[in-house]
Amino acid sequence: MSGVVSYLVFFATMAAILAIVVLGLNLQWGYTGLFNGGVAAFFGAGAYVTMLLGGRPEPGQFGGFLLPFPVAIAGGILFAGLLAWFFGALTLKLRHDYLAIATFGVAVALESVARNAEWLTGGAKGLRGFPRPLEASIADNFLYGLFFLALVLAVLAAVYVGLERLVRSPYGRALRAIREDEEAARSLGKNPVRLRLQSFVIGSMIMGAAGGLYVAFYAFIGPQDLAPILTFQVWAMLIVGGAGNNRGAVLGAFLIWAAWTASGFALATFAPQAMQLYTGPIQYILIGSVIVGMLLWRPQGILPERIGQGRR
């Protein structure tokens, strides 16, 4: 019984971390219409920098400055934001799909740095050993799990409330306005390039924050955490939940993560021995089909965007 409960705590923590990433993407895609093809890169940038700043020192390894967790994660968030600002400033003036290509390229480049720059990132074996916040004062493992879940949920709630206020403010209306009709927004004195850049940077910083929480949760980060499949999963979560609806984004994160975990478990248990090497591709096909299927048949998601009605 306690095994089930601690698994549920573990599952909910991971789903909540991903929900934060999806909220960041929702600001970019759902409210501003920006295509981020490298979600994993901004998540990973936050994660690696948090690890470098807050991790334990290792011989022959850069980093391990043992900074307090809030400082470390702030560094991670800042770095993700800087990365987003640099590439956003380069591409947001151009054709809309340049951002997609550039962010996809950032993800490929960061993954190859993570795999190869051993002095910095530990290479293929990654970096491990992270003093988790308040670990010393909570001795019991299960209680600590609960505490960490509460911490992640608190961050999720803060991001959710912050974004809800942001998108319901005049600023949020301006973002939607440039998404719908750039010329009209420009004629009202809005600067589309600047608004897009701000939205892109804020969304990426939220992803970086989720990366920092992920590092504190696993006390590990490796190049496989930056693999493109994360980007696909986060996109599937947003399109299933409903782009342009923050409640939908959180719902989609929990639904897809449950489906992903359940399908992985079912394949590992029931698939014949010979198929075990191929459970990954089967899951990837499922994620791809979810994305394409939703776009074809229900592009608005489970909880569609609500415009102009009801302030809650």
Binding site: G33, L94, Y98, I101, G105, V108, R115, V290, P299
Partner: protein, 304 residues
């Protein structure tokens, strides 16, 4: 160093062939197609299958043209693969992209292409396995043409370069000398005006997918002729063909060809100074440089 340049020119020819179709699709349908490079993989695997089938049906076809490792069955299989890949490109458009184009914006197409790429790549993995494949094991022992022991040039590599250039030249003649070529360029220039002049847009879209698919299949086969084939082929070529397209300027066929060679040679040269693990990131650096210096590419005129 000379070896690096030679290898780069060869990879460049493959990238160029891939980028020709991509630049036309990106320009005409106005979306960055992340599923496009999977056509290279579809083509290469289709050729692998046809080669085996043809060699089994008519064993006389299976012997290689010396000094190449290329056999008649593989040459025929390549033509079949080009047709099949063109047809799959049309089919994917008809099943998925056309429907999304009808009701949503260009970025939803980008999004859908991500999903399609994931499905195609992993379906190939399920069908053919993770392990790397070769058309012919003889390639490891193929005759080396050069007399300098430090420079390795195989006959197959020379053939690949010539065949790729021939395909590009043929396409150039089609573009500049035939009514179809004029129509294609007209649609790329201004779709509305071309329609007024009696060009059928839907026919042109199908032709662009067919041409792009066929060229990608050839690119996939040419690459596999001298390298290993794995389901990651499409993923590995995705960033290089995008880089070639952006270097050349979206919509410019000649730009894409030049861009392909540039990206190929630059990546191969970077091997001389960087550890090989960083090579996948090289096309990205080229994209960055172009965006900083000349955002619309060498020959591009596409605006936002």
């Amino acid at each position: 160093m000379i070896q690096n340049v030679l290898d780069g020119v060869l990879t460049g020819a493959v990238i160029s062939l891939g980028a020709i179709g991509l630049t036309m699709v990106m320009h005409m349908l106005r979306f960055a197609n992340f599923a496009y490079a999977e056509l290279l993989a579809i083509g290469a695997y289709a050729a692998l299958v046809f080669d085996k089938v043809l060699a089994a049906l008519a064993p006389v076809l299976a012997s290689a043209f010396k000094p190449l490792t290329l056999s008649a069955s593989l040459a025929l299989a390549t033509l079949l693969a080009m047709a099949i890949t063109g047809a799959s490109a049309v089919l994917l458009d008809w099943l998925i992209f056309r429907r999304i184009r009808a009701k949503a914006d260009a970025l939803s197409m980008v999004f859908a292409s991500f999903g399609v790429a994931l499905i195609v790549r992993n379906a190939i993995t399920l069908a053919f396995g993770h392990d790397a494949k070769l058309f012919s094991k003889d390639i490891a022992f193929a005759t080396v043409l050069s007399t300098d022991p430090l420079i390795l040039v195989k006959a197959d590599q020379v053939f690949v370069l010539i065949a790729a250039l021939a395909l590009m030249a043929a396409f150039h003649i089609v573009l500049t000398r035939t009514a179809f070529g004029f129509a294609l360029r007209a649609v790329a220039e201004n779709p509305n005006l071309a329609q007024v002049a009696g060009v059928r847009l839907s026919t042109m879209i199908v032709s662009v997918w067919l041409i792009g698919g066929a060229f990608s299949a050839a690119a996939g086969v040419f690459y596999t002729l001298t390298n290993h084939l794995s389901p990651a082929l499409g993923h590995n070529f995705l960033l290089p063909v995008f880089a070639a397209t952006i270097v050349g300027g979206i919509g410019s066929v000649y730009g894409a060809v030049l861009g392909g060679f540039l990206v190929g040679v630059a990546s191969a040269l970077s091997l001389a100074v960087l550890p090989s693990g960083y090579v996948p990131a090289m096309p990205f650096l080229i994209i960055l440089a172009v965006l900083l210096l000349r955002p619309h590419g060498l020959f591009g005129e596409d605006q936002a």
